[in-house]
Structure formats: structure tokens, C-alpha cells
């Protein structure tokens, strides 16, 4: 059992080191700075610029969190303070089911509803033509995918607040919403930030669903109605055929390593914050 315990501790390290070693050849050839800030992606000529992919990932995730955070906050505040027990009992399985639906189903649904919606209804108001496979589509699908995670963490954060402080505010004559605004939200702001960071890192790594709705064109997107090509989609799309070209595999592994590093850092910080909150109030 001790062996398994050590093995599992090492796992994180082993994954990181393996990906790093695999990414090393390309980093020896070109400086990391050039790789990250160049927009040229021409594997045949040996040019690997990650900028379009990094920006695509960022844009898509930002849209997702901008849409998902207000929805999740409102929902979890309602479930925590206003909702009766029966509403909670109906709603919790719904969050469970949403979180259980596999990415590929979200992708299928996205191509069936979101993409045509954007192409036919939304985009014509702003741009002349859009295929629907856009940054916005990716962001919308991702928003829905991170909602269940966000809501369940926010619920935990709100529930860990001691009841005394909200009771004190209510007994001083504040309305429920004033209590929420001035006490709950302020008191749990570290938890809310941690939940947001955690969900953003989930959005960073989402692959198949995003790949199916983003259009996958390796250019820096200029508006939310342009196609984009997030990092995970790049790795997923090119894996089979990269072995024939020098450094291609290494470049993709660098992508995976970057993803891994950012997500581990984000996760680490937010989990530490959440653990601290839990510890502070459980005493």
C-alpha cells in the first residue's frame, strides 16, 4: 500500500517529466520565446509558431467563463439561500447529469444546434459571412460544459460559510439580496476566484467538443465569428501523421507540456485556496 501511495505521488512528476523530455528537441532548436510568439505554423518547413493556438485557447476559454460565471453564480446563490428543499432535490440531479454527459455528445449537440444558430441567426447581424464553426461556438459549448463543475464548487464554497454571519446580517434588517451581495459574495470571494480558475483550466484542456465546433484554421482569430484552433484540438488532430516529419512530434508534445504545466499550476493554486477555506470554517 505504501508503494501505491508513492507511485501515485510520482505519477504527476512522471507525466510532467515525460512530456518535457519529449518536447526538449524542439526547444533546443528554437528558443521558447520564438515558439510561443510566432504565428507561423508550417510543419513542412520546420516552422512551429504556437501563437494562433494559444490565443484561440484563451479566447474560447474567456468567452466560456464570461458566459458561465454569472449563470453559475446566480444559480448557486439561489440554491443556497432562496430555494426550497424540493427545488434543490430536483435540481441537483440535473447538475449531475450535465456533468456526466461526455464531451463528444456536447460536440454533436454543438454542431447540430449552436453552429447553425450562429451561422444563420447571430452572425448575419455582425459580419457578412460565417460558417458557424467559430470562436463563439467553442465558447458557448465550453460554457455549458464547465457549468456543472463551477456550480458544484460554488455551492460547496457558499455552504462552507458559517451560518452566523448571514444570520447576523439578516437580523440587522438587511434584505436577503443585500446579505448575499454584501456578506456572502464578499466573504467567499477567494473561493469564487478559485472556482473560476479551476473551471478555466478545465476549459483549457477540453478537446473533442471544441475540436468539433471551432473550425480548426491555424490563424489568429480577429473576431468571435472567425474560426479558431485551440491547443488541445491541434494535438488531437495531428497525432497520427506527425511521425514522418522531423520535430513535429516534439512540437505537439511541447503543446501538451504547456497545457499540462498551466493546468497543474492553476489547479494547484485554486485547490490550495479551496482547502484553506474548508479548513478555516470547519473548525
Amino acid at each position: 500500500m505504501l508503494g501505491i501511495a508513492f507511485f501515485s505521488l510520482l505519477l504527476l512528476l512522471v507525466i510532467g517529466v515525460t512530456l518535457f523530455l519529449k518536447a526538449l528537441p524542439i526547444m533546443k532548436e528554437k528558443s521558447l520565446w520564438v515558439l510561443l510568439t510566432s504565428g507561423n505554423w508550417k510543419p513542412f518547413k520546420g516552422e512551429f509558431g504556437f501563437l494562433p493556438y494559444i490565443l484561440s485557447t484563451l479566447y474560447v476559454s474567456v468567452i466560456a467563463i464570461v458566459i458561465a460565471l454569472p449563470l453559475a453564480l446566480l444559480t448557486s446563490i439561489y440554491l443556497c439561500t432562496y430555494a426550497s428543499k424540493s427545488i434543490r432535490r430536483i435540481f441537483e440531479p440535473i447538475i449531475d447529469l450535465l456533468s456526466g454527459i461526455p464531451p463528444v455528445i456536447y460536440g454533436v449537440w454543438g454542431t447540430l444546434t449552436i453552429v447553425p444558430l450562429i451561422a444563420n441567426k447571430i452572425a448575419p447581424h455582425f459580419v457578412e459571412f460565417s460558417s458557424g464553426y467559430t470562436v463563439l461556438a467553442g465558447g458557448l459549448v465550453l460554457a455549458i460544459m464547465i457549468l456543472p463543475l463551477l456550480i458544484s464548487i460554488l455551492l460547496e464554497v457558499f455552504r462552507s460559510l458559517p451560518k452566523e454571519i448571514t444570520d447576523a446580517s439578516l437580523s440587522l434588517g438587511a434584505t436577503k439580496w443585500q446579505t448575499v451581495k454584501k456578506v456572502m459574495l464578499r466573504k467567499s470571494s477567494p473561493g469564487i476566484i478559485a472556482a473560476t480558475v479551476l473551471s478555466v483550466s478545465r476549459a483549457f484542456g477540453e478537446t473533442i467538443a471544441v475540436l468539433m465546433v471551432c473550425g480548426n484554421i491555424p490563424l489568429v482569430p480577429h473576431s468571435i465569428f472567425d474560426a479558431c484552433y485551440p491547443l488541445p484540438a491541434l494535438i488531437a488532430n495531428n497525432y497520427g501523421e506527425m511521425l514522418s516529419m522531423p520535430n513535429y512530434e516534439s512540437a505537439l508534445m511541447l503543446g501538451a507540456f504547456l497545457l499540462f504545466l498551466i493546468i497543474v499550476i492553476f489547479n494547484g493554486i485554486s485547490r490550495l485556496t479551496l482547502n484553506q477555506i474548508e479548513k478555516r470554517y470547519s473548525l
Binding site: 505504501l2 450535465l98 461526455p102 494535438i235 497525432y239 494547484g268 482547502n275
Partner: protein, 282 residues
């Protein structure tokens, strides 16, 4: 003044109820769309036949290869991750002191592993396979998916074991039971929790495409050995949807319906077991 307060209260309450309704309708919209598109294309052949010649051009056949492949894959990876996570959870809860730093480091590292995206597990699995000299195969897929579902299983099983009242192990030990005997009793007590953890892990593992994309490969046959490639349902949906032929796309919707029904069944039974567990709580 009071009026503004009141209006603000009502305004935000309406917003909250709206967001609740939005989220609920999204779920029904997703399931509804999949059923609406998938049901017409679903037939017995889809479930019971292998892809025939010209399947990807719209001719006869089904996705039995993917269904069986997914089941093989999940059984294998479940076995591996069970063997690793159950002893680990019992170890950090009963063999280590209550406020052990080692235990919290392990929990923390699994929290982080839980957040690592499936594509990274896929890439890591692939690198590992090159290192070991395995080609895309059932075995490769099993290893990658086992890595993916282990944190889920470990964390959700740990939650259940952790909230177990400490009196139970204490009572057992004071009656003269050895630690191993104690664990046997405790395992029986937390069984519903373990089942929930397994169902959650299976749900996640069976629906994930990015991990198996490079590790398990794809084939039209049912694998007969660990070294053969295996098809999986999510990938089969993905590939069929990419086809320009309309009938094949319809089949993708039908396969999506099969997967959705499977996942809904798993989530609902996980919920059933966990509610039964909370009823039996001492």
C-alpha cells in the same frame, strides 16, 4: 429608498430563476436533440452488427465493434484503477494518522491529477507506449483510461470513507479485530459509496474520446487480444460525424443516442446508490 431595495431583490430573484430555467432547459435541449436526431436512425442492426463493407459510405452494418471495444476497455481500466485506488484510500484513511501530512499531499496530488485534461493523458499514454514498444492497442487504451479514471475513483471513494464515523473502526479494534479484519467490515459498510465511485469513473471513462484517440486506435473488428487495436463509441461517433455521407452522419447521431442512454443510466444509478448510502448512514 425601501422601494429600490425591494425592486433590487425582485430583480435579482427573477434573474436567478431565469438562470435556473436556462440550465434546466439546456439539459433537456441536449438530450432532446440527441433523441430527435438519433432515434430515426437507430435500429437493431446498429447494435448487433459489425460495420460491413462500405459502411462508411452508407451501406449495411452497425457499431457493435465500438460498443464491445468500449466495454472491454472500461473493464480493463476499471480493474487496474480499482486495484490501485481502493488500497490507497484505505491506507491513507486507516493506516496513516488522522492528520497526516502525507495523506493530505496524496489527496492534493489527486485533486490536481483530476484536473489534468484527457488529451494530456492521451499524449502521455502515447509517449509511454512508444517507450514500451506497444502499438495502438487495447492495452494502450486501457492504461491511458486507467490513468484518467483513477483520480475520479480515488477522490470520490475517499470522500465516502472519510465521512465514516470514527467510532466504527475504534469499536472494531477494541473488540480485538486486526486491522485487516477491520477493513473487511468497513468495506462492507462503504460498499454503496464504492459502487457510486465506480459508476462515476465508468461514466467518465466510457465517454472520453481524447484519451483513446492515439492509444487504442480504431478497427472494424472486435479485438480478440490485448495487443489488437480496439474501437470505442466516442471515436466511432466522431469519425462517423466527419463523413460527408448523410446516412453515415445519421448513424453518428444514433451512436450518440446509444452513448447518451448508457451514460444517463450510469449517472442515475450512481445517484441511486449514493442516496441509498446516505439513508443507511449511522
Amino acid at each position: 429608498m425601501i422601494n429600490i431595495k425591494k425592486q433590487e431583490e425582485v430583480f435579482f430573484k427573477v434573474l436567478m430563476i431565469m438562470s435556473l430555467i436556462i440550465i434546466m432547459s439546456i439539459l433537456f435541449l441536449i438530450i432532446g436533440t440527441i433523441i430527435y436526431k438519433g432515434l430515426p436512425a437507430l435500429n437493431w442492426d446498429m447494435l448487433s452488427k459489425l460495420p460491413g463493407g462500405g459502411f462508411y459510405l452508407g451501406k449495411e452494418g452497425g457499431v457493435l465493434n465500438a460498443i464491445v471495444g468500449s466495454i472491454y476497455l472500461i473493464i480493463g481500466s476499471l480493474a487496474i484503477s480499482l486495484c490501485l485506488s481502493v488500497p490507497l484510500v484505505l491506507y491513507i484513511n486507516f493506516y496513516l494518522p488522522k492528520k497526516s501530512i502525507f495523506a493530505s499531499i496524496i489527496r492534493f496530488s489527486f485533486d490536481i491529477l483530476f484536473g489534468v485534461p484527457s488529451i494530456v493523458y492521451g499524449a502521455f499514454g502515447f509517449a509511454l507506449m512508444i517507450f514500451l514498444g506497444i502499438r495502438a492497442s487495447l492495452l494502450g487504451g486501457i492504461i491511458a483510461v486507467a490513468l484518467l479514471i483513477m483520480p475520479i475513483m480515488m477522490r470520490s471513494f475517499d470522500e465516502v470513507v472519510r465521512i465514516l464515523p470514527r467510532d466504527l473502526p475504534d469499536a472494531l479494534l477494541s473488540l480485538g479485530a486486526t486491522k485487516f479484519e477491520m477493513i473487511k467490515v468497513i468495506l462492507r459498510q462503504v460498499m454503496p459509496g464504492l459502487v457510486t465511485a465506480i459508476l462515476l469513473a465508468v461514466g467518465r471513462g466510457i465517454g472520453d474520446a481524447a484519451t483513446v484517440l492515439f492509444t487504442a486506435g480504431y478497427t472494424d473488428n472486435i479485438p480478440t487480444a490485448l495487443s489488437q487495436p480496439a474501437a470505442t463509441l466516442p471515436l466511432s461517433i466522431f469519425f462517423q460525424l466527419g463523413s460527408p455521407v448523410e446516412e453515415v452522419q445519421n448513424r453518428a447521431y444514433a451512436s450518440a443516442l446509444i452513448l447518451t442512454v448508457l451514460i444517463l443510466f450510469l449517472s442515475l444509478s450512481a445517484r441511486y446508490f449514493s442516496s441509498r448510502y446516505s439513508k443507511n448512514k449511522i
